[in-house]
């Protein structure tokens, strides 16, 4: 598979400098009765197309919260989140859903595959939602499973796959609709060092093939594989020294 296969919309030269992600002074408060948890306290950042960013920091510093804003599954209490130039915080649910479907790939720590569907059907799911014909999506699902090295396992259910294999199926699913942005929250968190390394290799290859990747991680090896690391603490980004 070539770079253009996994990359999002082809990036023209004129667009290549425009950031895929631009966060401007984002705040996210969680109200718990009387108390307010300030998970993000004014985060600003930009991510260029083709970049590979690792977000690191102590537990509870707001990494997942930030990633959820980038993934358009949550909204900032204050500030702006622009993905591919669109203000995703202002979108209505229907629009945000369709935006996620076509522009964002999500990989979770716990894989979250549909237990009753086969590996291939799991990869097909976002394509079916996007209205792709059965023949086309089966062909692409097979291609993607080949890409993550699971071509022979397409009929297997998640329960019949190892953790690392499940995570690779989840990555194939995230790539199904050629998203411009691939997000992963602790993708190696449930895996041993060896399988974790496989996933790390896969992310690197994906990025080399042109996909913009953002990972949240405690895993030093995964962070080291990224082109750039963002450090967070107490809901803020620590400026590079």
């Amino acid at each position: 598979m070539t770079a253009s296969d996994t990359r999002a919309a082809p990036q023209g030269d004129s667009l290549s400098t425009a950031p895929v992600v631009a966060v401007r002074d984002a705040h996210r408060d969680y109200r718990m009765g009387q108390e307010v948890v300030r998970a993000l306290r004014g985060v600003s950042l930009e991510i260029a197309p083709g970049d590979y960013v690792a977000i690191v920091g102590p537990s509870g510093c707001g990494k997942s919260t930030l990633l959820n804003l980038l993934g358009v599954v949550d909204r900032p209490t204050e500030g702006q989140v622009l993905i591919q130039g669109r203000d995703v915080g202002a979108m209505r649910d229907r629009e945000a859903t369709s935006f996620r479907l076509r522009n964002i790939g999500f990989v979770f720590q716990r894989f979250y595959l549909m237990a009753m569907l086969s590996a291939r059907e799991n990869v097909e799911l976002p394509m079916a939602e996007a209205g792709m014909s059965a023949a086309a999506r089966i062909a692409r699902a097979r291609e993607l499973l080949d890409y993550v090295g699971l071509g022979a396992r397409e009929r297997h259910r998640p329960g019949q796959l190892s953790g690392g294999e499940q995570q690779r199926v989840a990555i194939a699913r995230a790539l199904a609709n050629r998203p411009g942005l691939l997000l992963a929250d602790e993708p190696t968190g449930e895996l041993d060092a060896h399988t974790g390394a496989e996933i790390i290799g896969l992310f690197r290859r994906l990025n080399e093939d042109g996909t913009t990747v953002v990972v949240v991680t405690h895993d030093g090896e995964l962070a080291a594989a990224a082109r750039r690391t963002i450090h967070m603490r107490d809901g803020q980004i620590i400026p590079p020294t």
Binding site: D74, Y112, M116, E129, N177
Partner: protein, 395 residues
């Protein structure tokens, strides 16, 4: 894909799915039985009243329907008068009386009707031939058993029998020519039909020109109620009731009963609804993480709702079909029990299967199944995605 996912989640807990379907089937069966019971009794009465299309029953004034002792005198004059009305296209007189069949020293009691040879007004022939000659008699199965006779045998019949004095008013030797099913008497009560003239003659001079009842058929284009009113006006010694009027009385009297059936039917609908709601809610609650993931990867809310509703519909549809079978079996069984109730006419059915009514009630059950899925589905599809995923990750 929606169908694949719905089928997948029903397959995930097969035992639970089967139990839910069984529950819906039981609710559906009860619903169907109540509907069948509600229409069955009414329809039985109607068929009963509308024997061979005679819409009018002309009986002696001031008597209860089917009172066999009271009679109308001047029968031939009455029939002549009825024939003058052009709306009345057929009439058939009936004279009922108690008879005894003498066998040596024994006298066995039976009820008998004298009928117009041209119509089987009160019964339906099951075997043999109809009464065609003055010495013919047709009995029901209970009559043949009680008298120990078969078709072709001769019976010694008397009327006005006094068991102490062993006297009688009339006596005939009659040939059993057929076996019939009588509409108005229970299966275990012996009853027989003889020609009207024979019955009148056996009653002696006093009964020679009497009938218990006249049935009349009104032409289709005419109004049966106004024909009944005409008869009552013209012949003051009788009172006439039309099938429609009788049905209105039946409806009135069965009102409470039908209400009960409606309430029970509604209860079974609600039970079916709650069953599906419970199952869908339980199944949705254990899949909140899965649903949040689907939302996160861009599956639209309506598609999630469709998938979950489809599960509810499948349960209620399969349950309704199973309920149809179960309902028919139980109705058949209950009908057999209830029909054994002594004194009930053999043709009386408590449960009546009407495809349209069954389709309507089971359709309601399926609609209840759809509605049952909508709320839990919408609620689950509307949960905040990030928060739900976080909670699921902790769990």
């Amino acid at each position: 894909m929606i169908r694949t996912l719905a089928a997948a989640s029903l397959r995930r807990h097969p035992a639970r799915t089967i139990l839910a379907i069984l529950g819906v089937a039981v609710a559906g069966a009860l619903l169907l039985d109540m509907v069948m019971l509600g229409t069955g009794m009414r329809e039985s009465f109607r068929r009963f009243l509308l024997v061979q299309g005679f819409q009018l029953r002309i009986a002696p004034k001031g008597t209860l329907p089917m009172d066999t002792e009271a009679t109308i005198n001047g029968a031939s004059a009455l029939l002549r008068t009825l024939r003058t009305n052009p709306d009345i296209i057929a009439i058939t007189p009936v004279l009922g009386a108690q008879i005894h069949v003498l066998q040596g020293t024994r006298a066995i009691t039976s009820f008998a009707v004298g009928i117009d040879e041209s119509t089987e007004a009160d019964y339906q022939l099951e075997a043999g031939t109809n009464v065609a000659a003055p010495d013919h008699i047709v009995g029901n199965a209970a009559f043949l058993t009680a008298m120990h006779v078969h078709r072709g045998d001769t019976v010694d019949v008397v009327t006005g029998f006094d068991p102490q004095l062993r006297t009688y008013v009339g006596r005939r030797r009659l040939v059993v020519v057929g076996r019939g099913r009588f509409f108005y008497t229970s299966a275990e009560q012996p009853v027989a039909a003889v020609p009207l003239a024979t019955m009148q003659a056996m009653g002696g001079p006093e009964r020679a020109d009497r009938v218990s009842l006249v049935l009349a058929r009104v032409r289709d284009s005419a109004n049966a109620d106004s024909a009944a009113a005409w008869v009552d006006r013209t012949i003051p010694r009788v009172s006439t009731i039309s099938t429609d009027a009788a049905m209105r009385q039946v409806d009135e009297r069965m009102g409470y009963f039908r209400q009960l059936a409606v309430i029970l039917a509604a209860v079974s609908l609600i039970v079916g609804f709650l069953l599906v709601t419970t199952l869908v809610t339980v199944s949705v609650n254990e899949r909140l993480g899965e649903i949040a993931v689907m939302r996160a990867i861009g599956v639209r809310r309506v598609h999630i709702v469709q998938q979950i509703v489809l599960e509810g519909v499948t349960l209620s549809l399969v349950g309704a079909v199973a309920g149809l079978g179960l309902g028919l079996v139980t109705a058949h069984f209950l009908n057999a029990i209830l029909s054994d109730f002594p004194g009930l006419p053999a043709t009386f059915h408590f449960f009546l299967f009407q495809p349209s009514a069954a389709a309507r009630s089971l359709g309601l059950l399926v609609i209840a199944g759809i509605l049952a899925g909508v709320y839990p589905a919408w609620r689950a599809a509307s949960l905040p995605i990030a928060g739900t995923l976080r909670r699921e990750a902790i769990a």
